[in-house]
Amino acid sequence: MSLFLLKRLLTLIATLIGTSVIVFLVLEILPGNAAQMLMGPDAAPDAVAALAVKLGLDQPAWTRYWHWVAGMLSGNLGDSYTYSSPVLDLILERLALTVPLALLAMAFTTVLALLVGVTAASRHNKLGDVGLMGLTQLGMAIPNFWFAILLILIFSVELQWFSAGGFDGWGDGILAGLKALLLPALALAVVQAAILARITRSAVLEVMREDFVRTARAKGVSQRAVLWRHVLRNAMIPVVTVMGMQFSELLAGTIVVENVFYLPGLGRLIFQAISNRDLIVVRNCVMLLAAMVVIVNFVVDVLYAVIDPRIKASDI
């Protein structure tokens, strides 16, 4: 197990380094003179040169890269040009919304997908199966931001059960905060749940053909117990794989959905930073999101080994 973990950990570190190099190249080298970009094309050359020195742009690229990486490791991401406050504080403040939103969406996705997938598999080729799979096809085709708009139309404009957007923070209690995140999380979850439900159904159908399932049935275990206790656990490998990939989709999706509901999360921060040409905020936010994707994939890799110990044996 330790060799398996070590190999995966080394791959994770290499991928994080590669990802940081790509982010640095695109957002630090490609723009040419970041100071000029920040001050606009009409800025005085003296002012641009002074800002370039202040930003450390007169140093070689590899020195700037190293300073950035060292800063990330020590928690010093620099200061935002436009907010004049530490980037780390800005990000942490916004993560208090984006992380719970992504986790809530993932929870909805998992519950919906397992319920629909297992139910459809247990009614294979019957009306219930066909109907549920038809619904998942529709779910996969709906853009999450359109679904978000439809939810606002129905639950905020027509029924007036929820506010059409905004987030007052967690100060009013967890329930009030969760209520504000309910529709955004649902909008993110439905599309991903449709995909995951189809994967769950296929995986469950595959396992249901195995001998141990027949044995369990022959021993008198009820259909429900066989399905939820024996079949589902063995069908989890492809399901967990897709869940890992979906978490990165959900994180990317939060950028869009936060904009639909005007939520002050990481996605909105990136957008404001782009319009303010605040490259240092964009660079750190993009790196954070990319790192989250890479780390989630690493966790999924390790989870495989927990779910199916044969994987680490074959890997070593």
Binding site: T15, V26, P31, Q137, A141, E249, I255, I270, V286
Partner: protein, 293 residues
Amino acid sequence: MSAVPAAVPSAVAFKVPGFWRRAMHHPSFAIGAVLTLLLLAAALLSYVWTPWSPYEMDLPSKLQGPSAAHWLGTDSFGRDVASLLLVGARASILVGVIAVGIGLTVGTALGLLAAARRGWVEEAIMRLSDFTMAFPAILSAIMLTAVFGAGIVNAIIAIGIYNIPTFARITRASANAVWSREYVAAARACGKGSLAITMQHVLPNISAVLIVQTTIRFAIAILAEAALSYLGLGTQPPQPSWGRMLAEAQTLMFQAPLLAVFPGLAIALAVLGLNLLGDGLRDLLDPRLARAR
């Protein structure tokens, strides 16, 4: 333990007698093909005819509901929604074709190279694809927009880059399966080089997998373009796009809720069509999968 290589369905199936007859009786394929043809027809039709000019503003007629004159109503500038939808189909197809084209060409070439050379070349290509996979389309688009500004070209490049690792991984996995077949060993024994084997044996044998993947990625590209345009990072005014129509409609939800319905429906139908077409093709080109489903 070496894995048993999976047989790869071949696009030769398209030429098998009765393929199209079977295809037309396959519900997913038939519905998907009709919806996809409708999308193509809408885009092509918009070049020669639209009910009204999609660029002409008519403020006295703004925010009208569906009527005989304006089938799907008008937007906040008095422009005909049906005409905007027809022209908007062009942006979806343009982005889909070019972005998937980038992914298909570069990704397939890298995947074929990885499978043919193995060793450090394969390792390097796969690690590179790991790095690229850390950037969902929207994140790549944000980086490009921060540097070069918003626009359809950047959106296409971002979605194209996002497609590359997917095609590279699928191509490598399928090509590895072909490389371990006896007929490839026979070709090698006859003195054929890696390039000849790749072009004559590997590529034709993985083409069906690539065709199916292309339809699925096309659908994903349409969704990505709509999302980017909704955020203002994709198609720019005055060129109509379904994503931007939704962004504009959202600000008018209380006055004209229907404006937020039609563009979303257009995106959903286009994506549904391509997904069903992909599902149908997969079943038709690899009947073993159809039996397993």
